[in-house]
């Protein structure tokens, strides 16, 4: 097994305007909280709140491109959104191997996204399988 419990992986992601526009164009979620600066401010946020599920795209990148092997498939994932992410926020991503299941070639990571103010914006778990 290539993965060992406790190993850490670090990446940095930026939720750019282009990323968000691409997300809106692809999935059609134009909810004003995500697209209308004034509306978002009236709801108590500093500006447009980025779609939480953009972070799931980053998770997909981590599994698909950020690991030392490519024979991977996502089995399940859980994510909790803790704080808002705004446009152009830079996010530090850390994933830690939390469990390894050799018998079924499966690995579980715990992950956390942190903004530059060191606030956790999202965290969760993702379980992958290693294809034969």
């Amino acid at each position: 097994m290539i993965f060992k419990t406790g190993e850490k992986y670090n990446l940095t992601f930026v939720v750019s305007e282009a990323v968000q526009q691409s997300f809106v164009q692809t999935f059609g979620d134009k909810n004003p909280l995500h697209t209308d600066e004034v509306f978002a401010r009236t709801k108590g946020f500093k500006g447009k709140v980025m779609h939480g599920n953009i972070l799931n795209g980053f998770l997909s990148y981590f599994i698909g491109e950020g690991l030392p092997v490519k024979n991977v498939i996502i089995h399940s994932q859980e994510i909790q959104f803790k704080n808002p992410v705004y446009v152009e926020d830079e996010l530090d991503f850390t994933a830690t191997v939390s469990d390894v299941f050799e018998s079924v070639k499966s690995v579980e990571f715990k992950f956390v996204f942190t903004n530059t103010a060191l606030k956790t914006v999202a965290k969760g778990k993702i379980q992958i399988g290693l294809l034969a």
Binding site: H75, S76, D99, F101, E102, S103, V104, S106
Partner: protein
């Protein structure tokens, strides 16, 4: 025997949770063919959930040797549970 029955109940609860089906009622002779949605992917989730629940680890030879739930229970018992 009581311990086996208790293990079976605990495993049944794991199956209910992983397969999201409250009606599951496994016995020692139950096989994957008997349970709807017990496919190759859910099998991985079931094994992972059993390993986590009992804080044990199987190896691939062990899980490939099981022909039914009873043989899984034998394997769990061999690990001192």
């Amino acid at each position: 025997m009581t311990h086996r029955i208790d293990l079976l109940k605990q495993i049944n609860d794991i199956f209910i949770d992983v397969l999201d089906n409250e009606e599951i009622a496994i016995t020692e002779s139950t096989t994957a063919d008997d349970v709807e949605d017990w496919d190759s992917l859910s099998h991985i989730q079931l094994v992972v959930a059993v390993e986590k629940h009992f804080k044990i680890r199987f190896n691939s030879k062990e899980i490939q040797s099981w022909n039914n739930v009873g043989e899984m229970i034998n394997c769990i018992l061999e690990k001192g549970i």
